[in-house]
């Protein structure tokens, strides 16, 4: 079974197993290069940030659950949208950043609890909020990504 079906439709299958690079790559034989790179980044980020205080300023550890949600999002992201920059935040959330300039930037975060928090600056307009995330990317997230890339 590949990770696409695992992450989109039956995440519990691999959520209960050991989180490892090997496990990922055993099930990612046919995915595209940008997705591969994004998943590599997430695995590396988990390695670096899974213990408390990874930032030297008292950060919470990144959880496996937030990594899984981030992976699911990557697979759900429609083709044509650029892959995000991936980073951890002090709260322990995984953040995806789409950056064009200081005044054109959109960031979302995964906390491992099926919620996406988002914030965006689009010129002089700003937005932020939280959306439930399960089987599909919330429309408001896609709308803001289109706004950034239009």
């Amino acid at each position: 079974m590949n990770i696409v079906s695992q992450s989109r439709y039956s995440p519990g299958i691999y959520r209960n197993s050991e989180f490892s690079k090997k496990a990922f790559w055993q099930s990612t034989a046919s995915i595209g290069r940008p997705i591969e790179e994004a998943i590599e980044s997430l695995i590396e980020l988990y390695r670096q940030c899974s213990e408390a205080d990874w930032d030297g300023y008292g950060a919470n550890p990144v959880s496996k659950e937030s990594i899984y949600e981030a992976v699911e999002f990557i697979y759900m992201l429609p083709s044509g949208f650029p892959m995000p920059n991936i980073l951890a935040e002090p709260s322990g959330e995984i953040a995806f950043e789409w950056y064009k300039s200081k005044r054109m930037i959109f960031v979302i975060g995964f906390n491992g609890k099926n919620m996406i928090s988002y914030a965006g600056i689009f010129g002089s307009n700003k937005t932020h909020g939280t959306e439930y995330f399960s089987d599909t990317i919330p429309p408001v997230i896609l709308e803001n990504l289109r706004r950034l890339n239009s």
Binding site: D55, G56, L87, P90, S117
Partner: protein, 127 residues
């Protein structure tokens, strides 16, 4: 509490390369509050030479990490720019010249938006 002037600069010291971009801009992450304290630790740097500023970062931030880390840079921002976002400055002077950015909203997305605004106004200096 020590009074702070709106026109004085603050430095947030950077110990992770991921906190800035190749184009010389700062990522919002560097300004997000610590989950331990709910505040962002900064230093007041008015009237200090460059060497003195870096010395504070080395001694009070990088070397106090366990294990000690190397300082990568700093993000400077003015007090008035912080106040403009609705946040406050609490200059506790512990250690000397230390202050905290306070009054963060509790909602994660609201924190992130403010941190993005601060990052957009900050100036990056690499060591």
């Amino acid at each position: 509490m020590v009074n702070v002037d709106p026109d004085e600069p603050l430095a947030r010291f950077i110990i992770n390369k991921g906190d800035y971009r190749a184009d010389g801009t700062v990522r919002h992450r560097i300004f997000l509050p610590s989950p331990k304290t709910g505040q962002t630790s900064v230093f007041r740097i008015f009237g200090l030479s460059e060497n003195a500023i870096w010395e504070i970062g080395d001694i009070e931030v990088a070397q106090k990490r366990n294990p000690p880390l190397s300082l990568k840079g700093r993000a400077d921002i003015f007090v008035r720019q912080v106040l403009k976002t609705g946040l406050n400055i609490d200059a506790d002077d512990i250690p000397l010249r230390h202050a905290n950015i306070t009054n963060w909203p509790t909602e994660q997305s609201a924190q992130r938006l403010i941190a993005m605004e601060l990052a957009g106004m900050a100036h990056l200096y690499l060591k």
